[in-house]
């Protein structure tokens, strides 16, 4: 016997005992009829020495089944005490507005697209961004809107007719005192022109200056009374009372915007409840681009939605996402080494994947920009809200039937 074999044998006799003991300890197997090869033992033993192996890995072959052992599967359904409120946006003639249709979002009773628990609620909607003044845009987006950059009404029309926007987000960026400082009256005129150009429900956004936004929103609310516009947005640093009163008085709806913080989101909602019914509030907990904080945006939204379903009544609102922020990622617009492909594809897929990730966190209202991203996300929403039926037998053949 070689030294090597001797060592192996000694090793085996030493650890063999331990194995028998271990196996007995777990009461899993009798050793009598089991043939153990050296290689098997080494395979089993090694991890124990490392101290990492699960005791269960020591299960030795039992009588091998001859037939499939049947098991039942029960969908792991849970019940949730909470429900997301339904928020209606827009108003038709009979409701005091001029929109061709209204849109309802929210109403979820389970996490996003858990069809095994309950049928889908209202499908998420896509609203396309339109700006009231020329702003810097990524080239991939610009080529689609170059001729309408200074004509928000035409831009809105194209978004609805050509790209199938469910809604329009009109961003009044020019009201910024540091930019054009457009007056509330002028801004309201722009809103009216867009309301005339398209008949989908409208969202109106400001410039981020809490005082100027309030002034403009108050004017727009009055001029477009009864249209049930979705105002984007009210923030903690605004005069919440004045803003909420304008919303209420003229029959509108509002997005409550907070920067990625659930406590701030609760606080803002609580303050709004003093003036507005819950059904008038959509929440936006901030969207960061894929690669630039999307994980935080995703987790805040997922946590918010789960907490709402578990009964946190201050978070039971539909979620809004400024998905266009995806374009802030440099991978979306920068010319890169050719191996990363043309930015004309990288940009829209960046926006698409940012949207799809947040769709699965529970977002109900997407503000988007690129036509291809809009088209894809619409298709995915349609797919996720219905059971399409699956050709299960066919997919067995995938291994040798990929074409290209």
């Amino acid at each position: 016997m070689s030294e090597e074999e001797e060592r192996k044998k000694k090793f085996l006799s030493e650890i063999g005992l331990n194995i028998a003991k271990l196996l007995n300890d777990f009461g899993e197997v009798e050793l009598e009829n089991v043939e153990i090869k050296v290689s098997d033992l080494e395979f089993w033993i090694q991890p124990i020495i490392a101290g990492l192996t699960p005791p269960k890995a020591l299960v030795s072959p039992k009588a091998k089944p001859k037939e499939i052992l049947k098991e039942e599967f029960h969908p792991p359904v849970m019940s949730y005490p909470g429900k997301i409120v339904e928020v209606k946006i827009g108003a038709t003639k009979s409701e005091g507005g001029t929109r061709g249709k209204t849109i309802v979002i929210g109403g979820e009773t389970t996490p996003a697209f858990y069809l095994f628990e309950s049928p889908p609620s209202h499908p998420p909607v896509i609203s396309i961004d339109v700006f009231d003044t020329k702003i810097p845009l990524a080239k991939a987006v610009k080529i689609h809107v170059e001729d309408v950059l200074e004509d928000p009404a035409e831009w809105a029309k194209r978004a609805v007719e050509k790209w199938g926007a469910d809604m329009i987000n009109l961003h009044l960026v020019s009201i910024d005192p540091l930019l054009k400082d457009t007056s509330p009256d002028e801004a309201a005129k722009t809103v009216e022109s867009v309301l005339q150009a398209v008949d989908v429900p409208l969202s109106v956004g400001g410039c981020g200056d809490p005082e100027k936004d309030l002034k403009v929103f108050e004017k727009v609310a009055e001029v477009a009374a009864g249209e049930n516009i979705l105002f984007n947005s009210v923030t903690l640093n605004m005069d919440i009372k004045k803003m909420a009163e304008a919303i209420k008085k003229y029959g509108h709806t509002v997005i409550a915007f907070t920067p990625m913080n659930m406590d701030d989101a609760r606080e803002l909602n609580r303050k709004l409840y003093d003036f507005l019914p819950k059904e008038k509030i959509v929440m936006d907990t901030t969207t960061a681009a894929l690669g630039y904080g999307l994980d935080y945006a995703f987790t805040v939204m997922e946590r918010t939605r789960l907490a709402a379903l578990m009964g946190d009544s201050e978070l039971q609102h539909p979620l809004s996402s400024g998905t266009t922020n995806a374009w802030a990622a440099r991978e979306a617009w920068m010319t890169m080494d050719p191996k990363w492909g043309p930015k004309e594809l990288r940009g829209p897929i960046w926006e698409t994947i940012t949207a799809l990730t947040l769709l699965l966190a529970g977002v109900d209202y997407f503000m988007m920009m690129h036509p291809a991203a809009v088209k894809t996300v619409k298709e995915v929403i349609r797919k996720l809200t219905s059971k399409e039926g699956v050709e299960a037998e066919k997919v067995y053949a995938w291994i040798n039937s990929l074409k290209k």
Binding site: K64, L69, G293
Partner: protein, 468 residues
């Protein structure tokens, strides 16, 4: 039974309580806390590994074992671990073992093409905040349905790459031809089905390789197969409930139901890693290849979000893989770790009294991006990192976390005033709207920098020389 949350006290009960510090912690209670937070592993406690504590070890192992089993693919230094998930939602703790991405090759490819593709998969890499994002696995498909051809291609692939493999065929004879060439590398066998499970189980046991179980859109059958295979002695199993573009809802629901059964109901048969096959979109490709690549990327991204521990993809394009590897990195970061870097003054290169002073936010991604752009441009400068509570410049401006007051405070606190002989501050392009207020508050002249930090070197070249 839903899994209850562990407390350090429960864990402590089973520890030696000797405070021997061999684990590197001050005492056993501190070690227990680390264990609960998954920041330490049991084997760090050497007394636990002795015979005397065998029962405690067993109890602790049961308490701490993840609801989703961890399965290792590959051998030696080239191992990719999949599964091992501790929670369903990342905020509940953190996700471990990022979704392993496999790109396929097949036995009908011309050899030069095959070699080129394997080499490209292996060298694929993207630098992202100090990390190299890479692909993980190669899936070898039997396209010709021929054992000999499959054996040859597996042999070839094994000889040119160390990446762990997935061997794909539903024919046990073909799989065995591949295993003969590569079993020592411990590839994943793909796959056992309701029709071939017995033969595949034998192969898995004989060659000691992990086994995927494929039961498209039939979770009852999937569970039955797992039960049968476990009874057969196969422990390292990976689940494929089927991936369908036409049937996306079913796909996402199946993945979700399986993961919930594992994490919330401790289902012993479904507590296994999940593998998705977005490559199936290529069974009926669009006339325009980009459309199919696009679909495959979308499907992959949703499966990364919804619990896939491994993916098999067919397209291999930079523009579609880049968002996927970044999404994966994002979702698998530890949500407990702060997003912010330390605020304060940083010096780049060797700045002197005439060097420019820039400002940015303390969001980790912003900071690393700006820092790498400054370094790439070989610029000597000072950078004031403003505490924006971990928000990017754009979000911080919108959320009032980056204000003129904050900048003024940071400027004062940085002490940069005594280091330079000028009073000019360069702020990010996205913070332009507060430039006037900063000038008023600080008395410094403000230059509005580029919208993206990649423009910093050029900006300084053009503007800085002129201003000073």
């Amino acid at each position: 039974m839903p899994k209850k949350t562990l407390s350090p006290t429960e864990i402590y009960k089973y520890l030696p309580k000797t405070n021997c510090k061999e684990c590197g912690e001050e005492n056993c209670m501190a070690f227990a806390t680390k264990l609960v937070n998954r920041e330490a592993s049991l084997d760090k406690c050497s007394p636990l590994l002795t015979d005397a504590y065998k029962e405690s070890y067993k109890a602790l192992w049961e308490m701490l074992k993840p609801p989703v089993k961890e399965v290792a693919l590959g051998s030696d230094g080239n191992v990719v671990k999949i599964g091992g998930k501790l929670v369903m939602y990342r905020h509940e703790l953190t996700y471990v073992n990022p979704t392993a991405i496999a790109i396929d090759v097949s036995d009908d490819m011309p050899e030069d093409e095959l070699i080129k593709r394997v080499k490209e998969i292996e060298s694929f890499s993207y630098d992202y905040i100090g990390q190299k994002l890479k692909l993980d696995l190669i899936a070898v498909r039997s396209a010709l349905n021929d054992a000999k051809a499959f054996g040859l291609v597996v042999k070839k692939v094994s000889s040119i790459t160390n990446l762990p493999l997935i061997l794909c065929s539903l024919d046990p004879n073909i799989i065995e031809a591949g295993l003969i060439e590569a079993s020592s590398r411990r590839p994943l066998i793909y796959a056992a089905t309701k029709d071939n499970w017995k033969e595949m189980a034998e192969l898995s046991l004989m060659y000691k390789c992990p086994l995927a179980v494929f039961s498209p859109n039939d979770l009852k059958m999937l569970k039955s197969l797992v039960k049968t295979l476990k009874e057969y002695g196969v422990e390292d199993l990976v689940l494929d409930p089927g991936t369908f573009w036409n049937g996306l809802s079913e796909t996402i629901n199946n993945f979700t139901m399986i993961r919930r059964s594992a994490c919330k109901e401790e289902d012993e048969f479904l507590g296994l890693p999940l593998i998705g096959v977005p490559a199936t979109v290529w069974m009926e490709p669009d006339e325009i290849p980009e459309v199919t690549i696009w679909k495959e990327a979308c499907l992959s991204s949703m499966l990364i979000t919804r619990y896939a521990d491994a993916l098999i993809m067919h397209s291999f394009e930079g523009w579609s893989l880049l968002p996927l590897i970044i999404l994966r990195q994002n979702l698998y970061t530890d949500p407990r770790k702060p997003v912010a870097v330390e605020s304060g003054l940083k010096a780049f290169g060797s700045p002197n009294e005439a060097s420019p002073v820039l400002a940015t936010s303390n969001f980790a991604l912003t900071y690393y991006t700006v820092a790498s752009d400054i370094e790439a441009g070989k610029v000597n400068c000072y950078l004031i990192v403003v505490d924006t509570e971990g928000l990017s410049v754009e979000s911080a401006i919108a959320g009032r976390k980056l204000t003129a007051e904050k900048v003024a405070e940071a400027l004062k606190g940085s002490g940069v005033e005594s280091k330079v002989n000028h009073k000019t501050l360069i702020i990010p392009g996205r913070a332009s709207r507060i430039s006037g207020e900063i000038e008023e508050l600080t008395g410094w002249k403000v230059l509005v920098g580029p919208m993206d930090s990649s423009g910093i070197p050029k900006f300084l070249q053009e503007k800085w020389q002129k201003t000073t």
